[in-house]
Amino acid sequence: MSHQLGRIVSQILHRYFGEIVQNVGYDLFIYGSKSINMIVKTTGLPRTRIVDSLRTLLKFDLATFESTDVFVNYKLLPENILLLIRYPRYLLQMKSKYGSEAEMLVEELLQQASCSATVLIVTVMNKYKDDKEKNINMINLKDTFISLVTAGYIQQAPVAELNEGSEAPILVPVETKVPELDLRDLMQAMANNLADVKDNTYWKVNYDRFHLDFRDDLMIKAITRRIDENAGELMRLLLEQMYLTMAPWAAESCPVPAVELRESARRLADRPLLQQHVDQYLRVIEESGGEFVRRCGDAGGGQYAVCARRAAERLLEALLDHCVTERLGSKAHRIFRLIRSKKYIEEEDIQKNAMLPNKECKELTYKLLEEHFISVQPMRKAASAGGTAKAIYLYHVKIHEVAHTVREMCYRALHNVISVGAHMRQSHARLLDKQRRVRSIVHGMRVRGEPQDNIDDVLETLTPPELAAVSAAEAKLRTLAAAEIELDRALFILTCYFAYPR
């Protein structure tokens, strides 16, 4: 747990839940696991506020608890806190894959953290029923919900069970069963008070399912960039086959027979080239596809395995490459990759292979060393005569360590981007607020159908310089928000890599 992680986590908590939760969260982050009494002592906050904060954290799965005999200790889950900034991506994924109903459902569920299907559907229905554009209906919502559950994007929340003799409950995960939702019940719930609904199965969003989607997407895109769309499509088929037999995060999939791939390729009517050349594509992916796929047998026309772990490594390397290039230039990048490909290499050999002038090469090597992208291993020759044994210095790349370095940089960058955003929002708070108010007034007037002149009058309360300032600030905030999402994507590649134990 690094200092940088703590900074970013506390900042995210501040943005989404306010100062008190931030304080409690950061306190937990620093001390690892703690009981309420201890938190009261270190933060000096009133006990009730702390309990509230903890409740929020627990509700959104941002902390856990475990009970010893005497205390209940709380622990922060920083990884989950980082997911908060990934929400826009989840929603986008839903929208593009299942349409806007799914987006609404998932959005509502993310906000509620967990709730029953009835409550969820009814709330969404109520929220958007006046919105003519969306034009949603109960049947669609219900069907979407069921298909999301089937696809694993939504799963049943764990239930709390009380052990005998203990006061603290434990959360027991339950296996997700696809629910039967009765439309009539839903309609009734809609008409009556939501509080009366007797639906005790609670649901929550399954982040992992989304992450699998993101990972697959990365792999497919990579293959597409390396070879072509047909190969990318074939990669998708391979991954699909992998999910049938293996745990999705397994380092390497079971062998998939080529016959089955041919079979599923035949079903893709819009890819005649792929249908025709499945075997060739398999070979090309295997040989030139960044080692994502491995041929592991000849039975049944060849068998192929997806090396997800290797793929994660390759993707990480690509990420590191970009980092080195942008930070230290393409020549340093060349040295970096040269060292990586040779495993261990002497300084002189670097110069020879990289084809760089002596001095520049040395300088760049030392820069790389300074920024922790490479490391050096001195090797003493067995003491030769005269005791003048000169040590040789071997350079090499410790991928795992470099990944850590880059992750820290990502945290820092993310922190900076968010804090600049917060700062900007603060300094333009008055203007942004004013604009919001004007907008809502104008909206109200339009709905009431008041004359255009009056509306213009209200609009003019925002002077042109004010308008310009507001729109400039908004543009900047948009850039920052986009940067945040992009940074999160980079973090995702890193997490993928760390997800596989070494």
């Binding site: 047909n230 080239l273 993707l315 002596n358 960058a413 994507r489």
Partner: protein
């Protein structure tokens, strides 16, 4: 024995030697100058050797005298014995050159003396010192008019022992251009991806021909040289290499697996101060120039 007689003998020997550029033995001299006593012969030969006109060799047990070539004779004119010894060692080494330490060991001269000799020879433009490319401190000596060997000069990439990085850079870019021209062949190739990939590959010989035709290089580039350049492309991550069944190396231009990640899109990712940037203090994100410039765009 008179001086003039002596001179006559040496003259005669010289003439014989001139006729036989491969060298003459004692017997040849005796045959050419009948009635020459061995004592006279020895004095004459000694004198010639002293003047540095002759090289002396041992061939199959008998001594061979050979007339020195004109140039080298001139070169060491007025040189003393040490210079001659050193000169000979250097001449022997040819265009590979000889290291100063080896000269010292083989000539048995003291360090200071040797440096003096080398200096004087150098100032006469008889020999030159050449820096070795693969060991920057190491200097080797060779005759002035020789072209250093590839292993010493570093071949095409060096001009006066300086690495020509710009030249390498240009070649690197041109090679990449060549590979990129055919890189797209693999995409949706109607004849299948394997044929497509083969079409997108270029052998080193093809690249070499392209570079030669471009005429950007004054020196002649061998296939080997081009392979060195192509390998830098592989290290750059811009190309991948493979081997044809016949053993020749082929190259194909490739793209990175991912688009530039978010980290390098924000200023912090490339910021030299990132490790010094904190929430408070001199460098903070709120005050950061890089940030505000980036947001102004």
């Amino acid at each position: 024995m008179s001086e003039s007689n002596d001179d006559q003998v040496t003259e005669k020997i010289l003439n014989v030697a001139k006729k036989n550029p491969k060298g003459i033995s004692d017997k040849d001299i005796a045959a050419a100058i009948p009635g020459l006593s061995s004592a006279e012969l020895v004095t004459a030969i000694n004198k010639l050797l002293q003047q540095g006109l002759f090289d002396i060799y041992n061939q199959g047990g008998s001594l061979i005298y050979r007339l020195k070539s004109q140039a080298s004779k001139q070169a060491v004119k007025g040189a003393d014995n040490e210079e001659k010894v050193v000169y000979n060692l250097i001449e022997e080494a040819g265009n590979k050159g000889i290291w100063i330490r080896d000269i010292r060991i083989r000539s048995n001269l003291a360090n200071t003396q040797l440096t003096k000799v080398l200096k004087s020879l150098e100032s006469k433009k008889v020999i030159k010192a050449v820096k070795c490319v693969n060991a920057s401190k190491k200097k080797v000596y060779m005759l002035y008019n020789l072209e250093p060997d590839r292993s010493i000069s570093g071949g095409a990439w060096y001009q006066d022992q300086d690495f020509e990085s710009e030249f390498v850079e240009i070649l690197n870019r041109q090679c990449l251009r060549f590979l990129q021209q055919r890189a797209d062949k693999i995409k949706n190739n109607p004849r299948g991806p394997i044929v497509g990939r083969t079409q997108s590959y270029a052998t080193a010989a093809e690249v070499q021909k392209y570079i030669t035709d471009l005429g950007i290089s004054k020196v002649k580039l061998e296939v080997e040289d081009v392979i060195t350049i192509l390998n830098t492309l592989v290290y750059d991550g811009k190309a991948e290499s493979s081997v044809y069944p016949d053993g020749s190396k082929v190259y194909r231009s490739i793209e990175s697996l991912i688009t530039p990640p978010g980290l390098v899109q924000v200023p912090c990712g490339v910021c030299p101060l990132i490790h010094k940037c904190c929430s408070t203090g001199l460098i903070t994100p709120q005050e950061c120039k890089y940030m505000s410039e980036w947001l102004e765009q």
